[in-house]
Amino acid sequence: MTTNDYVPDASTLLEIYKRVVLLHANDERCRKVITSGKIAMAYYSYRGQEIIPAALSVSLREDDYLCTIYRGIHDMLAKGFPLNELWAELAGRKTGSCKGKGGPMHLTYPAKGIMVTTGVVGSAAPIANGLGWGIQIDKSDRVAVATFGDGASNIGAVHEAMNLASVWKLPVIFLCQNNLFSEHSTYEKMTGGERIADRAAGYGMAGVRVNGNDPVAMYSVAAEAIARARAGEGPTLIEAMTFRFMGHNFGDPGEYIPKDMMAKALANDPVPAFRAKILSDGIATEAELAVIEADVDDQISAAIEFALASPWPELDDLRHDVFAQEIEA
């Protein structure tokens, strides 16, 4: 783990934890709601990866940009995606952020800088560069974050994007959430080289591997990269080590995951560990955390109610938003 000047104070850690609570609770609810049959959707649980976006996002502003992937609801909630618009979109309702047209793999909410969610591996990175280019022309200190998985590091789009970001010195953070698996394939088997972070050197770009499940380390590495980008000093590749507890997607029994590997990961579940730290460091009391957690649960319940009470799109909506002009029937 690298150390730098960016150390989270108590209130920052509490803020990170609050976001973790939201992410953690929302994931649990998604799986519950699918099981209950209330909403049918393709769902890619991020359970186990909550710390990463929570610790990153506290250094981001509303006007910073995010491009994420199908497994990105944690990234988006941390960036401020509102629960009603989220749940209505997951439910395919007209009140969803994308009017029900996008769904879980294409969640978008520009008001909070959430510009693109892609279902195509690697494709968030080249688009984030364009956001960075715009920021550069604007002479602003905003930043753009592209997040993707370990598997995505081996696809062409990510390579092209990192080289361009480096030669253009773009204010882009490439956040690789290395959860050790791409679908059913292990990171070691599919990825040449010791660490994905090492590839940054080949682009003349800053690169760092960090324990993404450690809120302090993740915060400091993210804060440093974001500061670098804001200062116009170019992009950073962050490889955040983590694990996904729930398999690739909802319904994946994960038989391909070695039992001991899973056991070890579960034993190191970062969320309870972080909760314990918050308590032991005296950052918050059990009672205070209970309030935070209950409050989040109520918000999510309300959002689900809102979603399920919302109207479906009309068939006519198929002819809108293809172009600015509507398509004749």
Partner: protein, 333 residues
């Protein structure tokens, strides 16, 4: 696998047997793709399950997520006598490998003056029905049909799935096989095809004889077409149901003969209607049977929009049995 009682054989099972039989009969048949080998689950839906265990890691390989590398590796191996079957998990991901498929696989035989050829099969999966939205269920066959040097096939029965895949592997040139996700699993047949079974490329199947109207389709839409034909039969409409099976080059002879006989043609596919496969077929029918048709050729296809997520919109996107039936009733009016 008894010939009586409920069907037990799915398209998925037929595809799996086709791959096992091909690998067994010819050691030059090899396969690669994401999560394709058994340590990675033998394919995300299991089409390739068991292959790597049976035929070894040299011949059957899971790959990184790198579709250009996947097709490139298939092309290279095919240039020196192998018969690679490459999987592109979903058809939308062919978009990252179009250079390899179109500029290379389809063209190397011609550009080399016949010194080399590229006997690869590219299997890819797609289809509406699972709410996977705009980037996971497009039907893009029209792009490849417009490309000289590659053939395109799709099956709507286990027998055809087996026979087409075996013929595609036997073929000395690249073949793209489009598989439909929602119809992988339903048992449709009683027997797994025997290893000698082949479906000749370029030959359509007349799945139902009829006299009033010719219904041309393929892939999942052919399943819907059969249901629609059955439905309108009750109303006394006799439909000749043609499953193209080979989308490119399509079987002009069979389609034109039927159109000549019935004088009415409906073409249906899940792909976007505009500039879809139906356009070429309709254009050719009109050139060939000018003045001989009773009604203009009717085309049904996907809406001119990305595939929507929301269930009611997704359900409305493409032709299904009910909409095809309506078109059949209207055209014989």
């Amino acid at each position: 696998m008894s010939a009586t009682g409920k069907p037990t054989v799915s398209i998925l099972a037929a595809l799996n047997k086709a791959l096992v039989d091909a690998c067994t009969e010819d050691e030059k048949v090899i396969a690669l793709g994401e999560d394709l080998a058994d340590p990675e689950g033998g394919g995300i839906v299991g089409v390739t399950r068991g292959l790597s265990t049976k035929f070894g890691d040299d011949r059957i390989r899971s790959t990184p997520i790198a579709e250009q590398a996947i097709i490139g590796a298939a092309i290279g191996a095919s240039l020196i006598g192998y018969k690679p079957v490459a999987e592109i998990m979903l058809m939308n991901f062919t978009t990252v490998a179009m250079d390899m498929i179109v500029n290379h696989a389809a063209k190397l035989r011609f550009m080399s003056g016949g010194q080399t050829n590229v006997p690869i099969v590219i299997r890819t999966m797609t289809g509406l029905g699972f709410g996977s939205g705009g980037q996971h269920c497009d039907y893009l066959e029209a792009w490849f049909a417009h490309t000289a040097g590659i053939k395109v096939v799709a099956a709507s029965t286990p027998e055809d799935a087996y026979g087409l895949l075996r013929s595609a592997i036997d073929d000395p040139d690249p073949v793209l096989m489009i598989e439909n996700l929602p119809t992988y699993f339903a048992p449709m047949s009683h027997e797994l095809p025997d290893s000698s079974h082949r479906v000749p490329l370029g030959k359509a199947a007349v799945q139902r004889k009829g006299t009033d109207v010719t219904l041309v389709s393929y892939a999942r839409t052919a399943v819907e077409a059969r249901i629609a034909a059955e439905k309108v039969a009750a109303e006394g409409i006799s439909v000749e149901v043609i499953d193209l099976r080979t989308i490119a080059p399509w079987d002009r002879e069979t389609v034109l003969a039927s159109a000549q006989k019935t004088g009415r043609v409906v073409i249906a596919h899940e792909a976007v209607k505009r500039h879809g496969i139906g356009a070429e077929i309709a254009a050719v029918i009109n050139e060939d049977l000018f003045g001989a048709l009773k009604k203009p050729v009717k085309r049904l296809g996907g809406a001119f929009a990305p595939v929507p997520y929301s269930k009611p919109l997704e359900d409305a996107f493409a032709p299904n049995a009910a909409r095809i039936a309506d078109a059949l009733i209207e055209i014989v009016k």
